[in-house]
């Protein structure tokens, strides 16, 4: 098969994971104005829940995804309601530091419970795949791309078509006005963060099927989420989808550069992000606000 | 004023667009040295945008702005300030963590080159300026402790501390009550008396009639009329634009 088409497919598959990692992060950033440095840790928590349910109870990993989402939603809701809400009016650096502290606590609690070994989720069908010419595309990866797109669509539906979604839109547009029309800010903020965490949980479940996880593996996911959200543009789920897929493609093509292209994946990604920030701060798809 | 003297500030066809809409469209006028001129117009007439173009915080799309005969169009705000144009903001922008005196000292430290006297000198100049605008007694207060009228005074004090030849005042009377407006008028007169040319934007008619020697009426980005305030304000087009047609008819009948 054409090498170009192969790269596109690989890029899109990788992009699916980035979409999953990015949507929750983008939601929290766009609505709450919080750059959530604990996002990667929440992703890893989702991964461990899937791993635990899979190895402990033999549950199919895809069936654990709703459970990841539910558990992380509760965790996220409690975190926002109990802690982060208390510094929401402080300068932005404080939310950076607070979420970094949350990250530190989560990662180290995971280390205490699970140790630092790498864990992976390997259901019976994980070796099988779709043969396309010379490449085999694992079904798991295809399914996770689908799951990621479903996740984004579901989130977009929730935000645009439900009562709480409209409330979230209102607080992202004008916090104080939203309060005046009777929205319970503390609850709405907590739900928003809970949704962001739920998305992270699902992303974690998907990632656990594709690569091995360890408690300290979260940091790259936070960084990737940054890049994806910046690339697409803040404020809309669809923009994050574009950002995630674009990031996957850039990475795939970057790695294919002859020589040692693969080791520059991060440098290429971040270089691209800085370039986008400087030339088009609203992102590829975004509107200026 | 003789025609041979070139005006201090000269605008020629100044145009500024946002998307497809021209907020300021081919505005031309002159301000003579030592004059005190008011710009009035309904909301959205382009008054603040015009001020932004003069002070360099927004880049004009077409036209030219000259200060003492040399063009200042499109140069950055700090250079405009150093050339001798000071301005205030309608929505006050105080330096929140500083005292009143320190706020004024920033203007003295960074304004026109002749005024620069080091940090100690800047504080001395700041005190002089605070005296002029009536804030001397509150020099050591944090700005957070100031009332709204005092914040507007501080805005003027900072601009005056840059030692401008031309001062642009953006609605310094907006939101003040009658007594406060009278005080503010006295302040503007006091500043003008030090030899500074003043160009002010106002919503309050009383201000224009009270202090201005000349008024310029803006409407939809165009100059509608200019001249002596009493004459201009009786102009029918101005009354229509400013107060609405119905009011204009009632005034006529």
């Amino acid at each position: 098969m054409d090498a170009f088409v192969q790269l596109v497919i690989l890029g899109l598959l990788a992009g699916g994971v980035y979409v999953a990692v990015g949507v929750g992060f983008g939601l929290v950033w766009g609505v709450l104005n919080i750059v959530n440095l604990a996002h990667g840790a929440l992703v890893v928590v989702g991964g461990y829940i899937t791993w635990q349910l899979f190895t402990g109870f033999g549950l199919d990993p895809f069936l654990t995804l709703p459970l990841d989402a539910a558990a992380l939603f509760i965790l996220g809701y409690a975190l926002q309601r109990g802690v982060i809400n208390r510094i929401i009016r402080a300068p932005l650096l404080f939310t950076f530091l607070l979420t970094f502290g949350v990250n530190l606590v989560i990662v180290n609690i995971l280390l205490l419970i699970f140790g630092s070994d790498f864990r992976s989720v390997t259901p019976a069908y994980s070796g099988q795949g779709l043969e396309l010419g010379s490449v085999v595309i694992p079904y798991v990866r295809l399914a996770s791309l689908g799951a990621a797109i479903l996740l984004a669509a579901g989130l977009a539906f929730l935000l645009n078509r439900t009562r709480i979604g409209l409330a979230i839109h209102a607080i992202s547009a004008d916090r104080d006005a939203a309060q005046l029309v009777g929205i319970d800010l503390r609850h709405a903020y907590a739900v928003t963060y809970g949704l962001g965490a739920a998305c992270a949980g699902i992303a974690g479940g998907l990632i656990a099927m594709i690569q091995a996880i360890t408690p300290t593996a979260g940091e790259p996911y936070t960084l990737q989420a940054f890049v994806v959200v910046i690339l697409g543009g803040l404020g809309r789920v669809s923009a994050t989808v574009v950002g995630g897929l674009a990031f996957g493609l850039v990475e795939a093509f970057g790695q294919s550069i002859p020589g040692s292209g693969s080791v520059f994946a991060n440098a290429i990604a971040f270089g691209l992000m800085v370039l986008v920030l400087v030339t088009r701060p609203q992102g590829l798809m975004g509107r200026l606000h | 004023m003789s025609a041979a003297v070139s005006p201090q500030l000269e605008l020629r066809g100044v145009t500024k667009r946002f998307g497809g809409v021209a907020a300021v469209d081919g505005v031309s006028f002159e301000v003579a040295k030592g004059d005190i001129v008011g710009i009035i117009g309904p909301n959205g007439a382009g008054k603040t945008t015009l001020l932004n173009c003069i002070s360099g915080t927004q880049r004009l799309d077409r036209g030219d702005i000259r200060l003492n005969g040399s063009s200042i169009a499109g140069i950055s705000p700090h250079r405009v300030a150093k050339l001798g144009i000071g301005r205030t903001f309608q929505i006050v922008k105080p330096f929140g963590s500083m005292t009143v005196r320190e706020n004024a000292a920033i203007g003295a430290l960074f304004g026109s080159a002749q005024a620069r006297r080091g940090v100690a000198g800047a504080f001395a100049l700041a005190d002089e300026v605070l005296e002029l605008v009536g804030l001397r007694a509150k020099a050591d207060h944090p700005v957070s402790a100031l009332t709204i009228p005092d914040r507007k005074r501080l805005e003027v004090a900072r601009a005056v501390a840059t030692r401008p030849q031309l001062l642009l005042l953006d609605e310094v009377m907006a939101g003040l009550n009658n007594v406060e407006v009278d005080d503010a008028l006295d302040m503007v007169r006091a500043v003008h008396a030090t030899g500074v040319t003043v160009l002010l934007i106002e919503h309050v008619m009383r201000v224009i009639v009270g202090v201005c020697r000349r008024a310029i009426v803006l409407d939809f980005g165009h100059v509608l009329a200019q001249g002596e305030p009493e004459v201009v304000l009786r102009d029918e087009r101005v009354i229509q634009a400013y107060l609405g047609e119905r009011y204009a008819k009632r005034l006529k009948s």
Binding site: F94, V263, F270, L277 | S76, H78, G86, M98, P142
Partner: protein, 360 residues
């Protein structure tokens, strides 16, 4: 900047005196390890192991103070300052290891290169505000670390690659002492520069930018030049620390020259001690580093944490650190200097007030 009362002045004096005693002890104690002191029967107050920790702590004093110039005084939340540390480390490291320059000749180039790089990226980056600047600067830091590790020329790594860069050991007597005092010199320089900035026209311009950039510009502050200068100044000091680190540590790689967690640590230190102040970041660096070292069990005075095995101890230490970070950020958002420095005293009312100001 706000007028002080007598009681506040008393607090401040007590704080300064306590700080001076601590600093004096820390500066003089290492001298007791010299042969002269030993033969004069002066008790040993600090050994080689201590120098190492102390040098490390002072390194953070330099970095936190440097961050304060761009982050605290200018108000630009730089999140990638570790890039300048890395540039400093690799500049000195490369000159010594590859070009065989003597250390003291190679060191001055570390701040020069770091500052030049900061000026170069500062021009585009400092046009961004808030989160965007923070994220972009973080990106620069991450990308740079990876580039340094992976750049090859002719099939060989230019900067030592994944196996890192080894420097020849610097031939100087009492090496531990030498690097401790050298780092202290850098810290003194960083604090002196901050002191000067806060009293200068330059500093007033930076604070004006922090408080309201547009107002600063129309009052005549050349905002672009000032921001870039502040960024470059912070980079120079951070680069200096990196330069000293590379020769002191003798080995540098991506992990120890570009550690992402330093970004968070230096900011946390500055916040803890009080941003925008002269001694705040230094105090914060001391406080936080001592705490980290204490929790990690590297200090001679240490507590056994009950029910915790020795393997789990460093992990528990991190959990405690995280919880502490959360508590500090939630309850004391204006920094410890706020009450140590005498503005307010730590009281329930103070905590309640600061909570009310920042919560929903």
């Amino acid at each position: 900047m706000i007028a002080t009362t007598d009681s506040q002045r008393r607090w401040r004096r007590a704080f300064v005196i306590a700080g001076a005693i601590v600093a004096g002890y820390a500066l003089l104690a290492p001298l007791t390890s010299l042969d002269v002191a030993q033969s004069a029967n002066i008790p040993l107050l600090a050994d080689k192991f201590w120098f190492r920790i102390a040098t490390y702590i002072v390194m953070f004093v330099v970095m936190a103070s440097a961050w304060n110039i761009i982050g605290g005084i200018t108000g630009y939340a730089a999140f990638g300052n570790v890039a300048f540390f890395g540039i400093g480390a690799y500049t000195t490291g490369m000159l010594i290891a590859k070009a065989k320059w003597p250390f003291l000749l190679a060191l001055p180039l570390a701040p020069v290169l770091a500052a030049s790089f900061a000026a170069l990226i500062g021009l585009p980056l400092l046009r961004l505000r808030g989160h965007y600047f923070a994220v972009a600067s973080l990106g620069v830091g991450v990308a740079l670390g990876e580039l340094v590790q992976n750049i090859d020329y002719d099939g060989r790594p230019v900067f030592g690659g994944a196996s890192g860069l080894f420097l020849p050991i610097y031939a100087v007597g009492h090496r531990g002492l030498f690097f401790f005092y050298l780092m202290c010199g850098a810290a003194a320089l960083a604090i002196a520069v901050t002191w000067w900035v806060l009293r200068s026209r330059f500093g007033y311009g930076l604070i004006a930018i922090r408080e309201n950039e547009e107002a600063a510009a129309v009052l005549g502050v050349n905002t672009t030049a000032y921001k870039v200068a502040a960024f470059a100044l912070a980079a120079a000091l951070t680069g200096l620390a990196g330069g000293i680190f590379s020769q002191w540590n003798v080995f540098i790689n991506q992990d120890n020259a570009f550690p992402i967690e330093y970004n968070v640590q230096m900011i946390l230190m500055a916040l803890l001690g009080g941003t925008g102040t002269v001694f705040g970041p230094a105090a914060g660096a001391l406080l936080l580093q001592l705490l980290i070292q204490f929790l990690g069990g590297s200090l001679p005075i240490s507590l056994d944490i009950p029910f915790v095995s020795s393997e789990a101890r460093p992990i528990i230490a991190q959990v405690i650190l995280g919880l502490l970070l959360i508590v500090v950020v939630v309850f004391v958002p204006r920094g410890a200097i706020d009450f140590f420095g005498g503005r307010t005293r730590l009281s329930l009312a103070y905590l309640r007030r600061s909570l009310r100001e920042t919560s929903l």
